[in-house]
Amino acid sequence: MALISGADREQLRKERLQELTRLKAEGTRVVGYFCLYAPVELIAAAGAVPVRLVRSSADAETAGERFLRADACSFCKSCLGGFEREPLFRLADGVVGVTTCDMMRRLPEAFEAHRTVPAFQLNLPRTSESAPHRLAEFRRQMAMLGDWLASLTGRHADEDGLQQALQRQNRLRQIVRRVDELRATLPAAVSGSDVLDVVALAGLLDPAAAVAVIERGLVRAGQSQSTAERPRVMLGGSIITEDDRWLVEMVEEKADIVADIVCTGARWAAEDAPVGEPGLDLLAGFYFSRLPCMCRRPNDRLYEHARQLVVARRVAGVVYKTLLYCDPWSFEARRLHDELGVPVLAIDSDYSGQNREQVRTRVEAFLETLAE
């Protein structure tokens, strides 16, 4: 049984949309973001409601191709198209982009040109090695984001607001980490898709509400999900959205996803933000130093994390799903295979679904090999 059933997730989404609509009517601003480097605490402390925009679909991707070339990343195209198809996207009064990869860096400009949604680009240094001037620059970028948010909401984030937001988000991260750890137990108490589900809810719901939902789910999920020893798999690659659930389900038919390194999975909750003052300084340090996305340079720390997961969670193989033209992740598939020392199945796909059965064949063959 899933930690949070599909029906419950749909209901929660519906209720959240209604709630956001009401909040907007009352004057609250909704700010969309895409990436786990977006400082949600700052958005919340400025009086806006942060929501993570991670839906994806073939229709939205096609809609995005009216403005971007076909060889733009599927997620970027889908985000652009999402503004005419997804109710959640349409609620956004503004968008915060983070300069992780080049395409995401350029996406806010496309929003402004084609969607007339105000957008702010938070310039996160791509270099991941900590240096005082890099941290100072990122702190300055965060302050600029604070000013931009204030222009949207009429309110600057103050220290109290930041501290409260930090604590609320940390509480949420802690419970998501608990779910993540439970999937690694033997037999697993929750599934890999449960982790992706709770991270998706964490980006959608108010933090306190998300914690309550996850806690209720955990009470129900006391029983083991899996009784038989099955191949233990790690999920990696480009962003995996709720609409990519087909792949997760496909894997879980024959294997347990016991770890992941995707930005919509356990990496979201991998560490707590430090609580203290001044909040903005600590927040800047936290986001700069997060467990790096593959696009950071160098990205060795992510490899180290992946290696640790492979050992600690006895991972037998990696299902590595990249989006077409997602250079930061697709370039690394071979290296990951070389460095992790376990089999890697690399799948490169867009949102069209046309190759789904071909993917099924490959996934099943891969998992059968692992089971031998």
């Binding site: 070339r69 680009q121 620059e137 690394e332 290296r335």
Partner: protein, 467 residues
């Protein structure tokens, strides 16, 4: 070795009437060049060793695998021949640099600033592996792309992946003593190439290219940030060379780079204005501003020789492209140089370029402290800003040169191509009412693919019909 005036050269070997000539014609012409003249040009000046000669005709390099040279058309001046010999000789020059005890430093990704710093150090030679992206086209070979594929880079990716193939092969340049890799507000493809190249590098120093928010103006905190990044570069080079760089040495380094940049700026005016040099040579010249083809001393002389030639032609009212040719601004450098020749063969001419190296084309402010001046110069880079800002550069040149069309050559899978080509095209159409042709350069081959040729032909026909 600077050539102060064309008179001497004219007496020893008078340039023919300006024309674009083929491979065979250059072979015949080369026969008439006196040996004394061939013996005069050496790289790494003031060195005069026999091994450093480089004035060879395109045939020499075709024998070593540059098959595409047989299909290109070249300017028929001695200065252009000298340029081709020098450029094609770069691999040899880099290995000679290593043999003669110089520090070979690879600069990746920033397109213009880092070599100014590296070249300020005595005994350091900077080069750009980025420019290897032309090699598969010039050699009509997939070898470097195949090598990059073995490292994990898929086919639908920027041709700059050839640089990774070259790192993996350890044959196209000596293994650098240091690799300085710029990333940040740049393209994903090359950032990915850099990350994978790190596996083949002795040491890699990462440098952040910051995002530029405002259009045109310099943002003091961002410049300060960049100066801090450059300080790390200086410190690392000081450790490598054991030499402490003085402000005076850096100032001289900036002045040397500026001498080239100023000459190239004048060449751009003459070539794109008066049509005295072909587009192919101009692209090679513009990219020389990045790394001076690993020898700033001799490259300065080559560029100044070209400038003398260009001025002499302009003064004599001689052109190498027809005056009534269709005026095009070319956006993003074509990986296949044959495309530039084809455009001119079909009655077009390039009157402006936006090759994402604009930051290397403008002089560096010599009144400022060295690192600050280099940082300010870099902040003009079209790649680190918005597509809207890049479109402004295109619009400005198109207006100034009364362009009749804009041609955007892209790369399938190139991150910035995918995101900005349409934004730029839309602005050009909306603001100048100019036709835009956008196409992706096909993979290396002996000739331009038929579809691209047809599209260029149709585009030029359209422009002609609008006259």
């Amino acid at each position: 070795m600077a050539i102060p005036a064309s008179g001497l050269m004219t007496r020893e070997w008078p340039d023919p009437v300006p024309a674009r000539i083929g491979f065979e014609e250059w072979a015949e012409l080369f026969e008439t060049i006196p040996d004394e003249l061939i013996q005069r040009f050496h790289y790494f000046p003031p060195n005069q060793e026999q091994w450093s000669l480089y004035l060879f005709p395109p045939q020499t390099f075709a024998i070593y695998g540059c098959r595409h040279l047989r299909r290109l058309k070249f300017d028929n001046s001695l200065a252009a021949l000298r340029m081709w010999g020098f450029v094609q000789n770069e691999t040899e020059r880099l290995f000679r640099a290593r043999q003669t005890g110089r520090h070979v430093v690879a600069c990746m990704g920033d397109l213009g600033a880092l070599p100014v710093i590296v070249n300020s150090f005595p005994g350091c030679v900077a080069f750009y592996p980025d420019c290897i992206w032309w090699t598969p086209f010039v050699m009509e070979s997939q070898v470097l792309f195949d090598a990059a594929a073995e490292q994990g880079i898929p086919e639908a990716t920027c041709f700059s992946r050839a640089a990774l193939g070259a790192f993996a092969k350890h044959s196209y340049f000596p293994d650098p003593d240091l690799v300085i890799a710029a990333t940040g507000a740049s393209c994903d493809d090359y950032s990915g190439v850099e990350q994978l190249a790190a596996r083949h590098a002795r040491e890699m120093l990462w440098v952040e290219s910051p995002l530029r928010r405002s259009c045109g103006g310099v943002e003091p905190p961002t410049v300060e940030f960049l100066v801090s990044e450059y300080r790390r570069v200086v410190e690392r080079l000081e450790r490598l060379t054991g030499h402490r760089l003085s402000e005076e040495e850096l100032r001289r380094g900036v002045a040397r780079a500026n001498r080239v940049r100023q000459a190239v700026a004048q060449l751009r005016q003459l070539a794109y204005g008066a049509g005295v040099l072909p587009a192919l040579e101009m692209m090679v010249i513009e990219f020389g501003n990045l790394h001076f083809y690993s020898d700033i001393g001799e490259w300065t002389a080559v560029v100044e020789h070209l400038l003398v030639t260009a001025r002499a032609r302009a003064d004599a009212g001689q052109r190498v492209v027809a005056e009534d040719a269709l005026r095009i601004v070319w956006v993003t450098p074509p990986a296949d140089p044959l495309l530039l020749c084809y455009l001119e063969d079909r009655g077009g001419r390039v009157v402006g370029t936006e090759f994402v190296i604009n930051q290397a084309l403008a002089p560096i402010d010599e009144t400022k402290p060295g690192l600050e001046a280099i940082a300010c110069s870099f902040m003009a880079a079209s790649l680190i800003g918005t597509s809207r800002q890049r479109a402004e550069l295109v619009l400005r040149q198109a207006s100034e040169r009364n362009a009749e069309g804009v041609l955007i050559s892209g790369i399938l899978g190139g991150s910035h191509c995918a995101m900005e080509a349409r934004l730029i095209a839309d602005r050009v159409k909306a603001e100048l009412d100019l036709p835009v042709l956008e196409f992706d350069v096909a993979k290396p081959g002996a000739e331009i693919d038929r579809q691209t040729r047809t599209r260029i032909d149709a585009f030029l026909e359209l422009l002609r019909s609008r006259r």
